[in-house]
């Protein structure tokens, strides 16, 4: 069978072990659990600062009811940013390129925010379907549009993350292949392509962090609407 550029995204198995399992469990070795001792080492201190700052920033726009979600949202951020960043290393598998994982995270969490809103304050939650100041005749159309946009949210969350990471990895592979193939033929062009590759990798590092953050931020906004 022909090796295509999409084959890097196949869920790999090696000797019957799904490598997805390894890719999802091994990254947490990088986060040692703090002990009951007061003094940490530098690595743990940095992680603690990051978690603390991030939780504080994320919870700023949320009302008190949303603060219950602090641990969940921070866990989600650590999960996504670690997996995204580790996927940029050569020969690693990025679980967040799998649509199943992203939809599996986005749909239940989004559904949870909607159900919380519907259960605790149904009028307020349904009120989001009609923006303020709509002219009378437009009301039915706008309600339909807002309902569609509500239901598209989990799909958008999942697909956004998948597409961004898949596209990034694919571009890296394409440009790296181009640089490699051009090297014996036109070395100068190959060097230019390698420069593009370096810049692209920097972009991908940024994208990895940003996309993880956007996922969590949007989820917190959906929560704020409903809480």
């Amino acid at each position: 069978m022909m090796l295509s550029f999409f084959d890097q995204f196949m869920s790999p198995t090696y000797l019957g072990i799904p490598l997805m399992a390894l890719a999802l469990t091994l990254p947490w070795v990088l986060y040692p659990t703090p002990s009951a001792r007061w003094l940490n080492n530098r690595f743990l201190a940095l992680q603690g600062w990051f978690i603390n700052r991030f939780t504080q920033q994320l919870l700023l726009p949320l009302s008190l009811g949303g603060h219950k979600w602090a641990a969940l949202l921070t866990s989600l951020m650590i999960f996504l940013i670690t997996i995204n960043m580790l996927g940029l290393l050569p020969y690693t598998f990025t679980p967040t390129t799998q649509l199943s994982l992203n939809l599996g995270l986005a749909v239940p969490l989004w559904l949870a925010t909607v159900l919380i809103g519907m259960r605790n304050q149904p009028t307020h939650a349904l009120g989001h379907l009609l923006p303020e100041g709509t002219p009378g005749p437009l009301i039915p159309v706008l309600i339909i549009i807002e309902t569609i946009s509500l239901f598209i949210r989990p799909l958008a969350l999942g697909v956004r993350l998948t597409a961004n990471l898949t596209a990034g990895h694919l571009l890296i592979q394409l440009i790296a292949t181009a640089a490699f193939v051009l090297l014996p033929l036109m070395p100068v062009v190959a060097i230019l392509t390698s420069t593009v590759l370096v810049l692209l990798t920097l972009l991908e590092v940024a994208v990895a962090m940003i996309q993880a953050y956007v996922f969590v931020l949007l989820l917190s906004l959906y929560l704020q609407e409903n809480v």
């Binding site: 999409f6 995204f9 799904p18 997805m20 469990t25 986060y31 659990t33 007061w38």
Partner: protein
């Protein structure tokens, strides 16, 4: 696109949520943040008399 192959979808879902609910929050919640130490001043703090009974 191989991501659209539905075969491992359920396994991935279960595994992700397992990791996401068990491993990560344990590690994150273990980070504790002690209160900031207050700077000591030489003045004795002012105490006002209280109006409720001392139990």
């Amino acid at each position: 696109m191989p991501q659209l192959n539905p075969a491992p979808w359920f396994a991935i879902l279960v595994f992700t949520w397992l990791v996401f609910l068990t491993i990560i929050p344990t590690k994150i919640l273990a980070h504790t943040y002690p209160n900031e130490p207050t700077s000591q001043s030489t003045e004795k703090p002012k105490t006002e008399p209280w109006t409720w009974p001392w139990y």
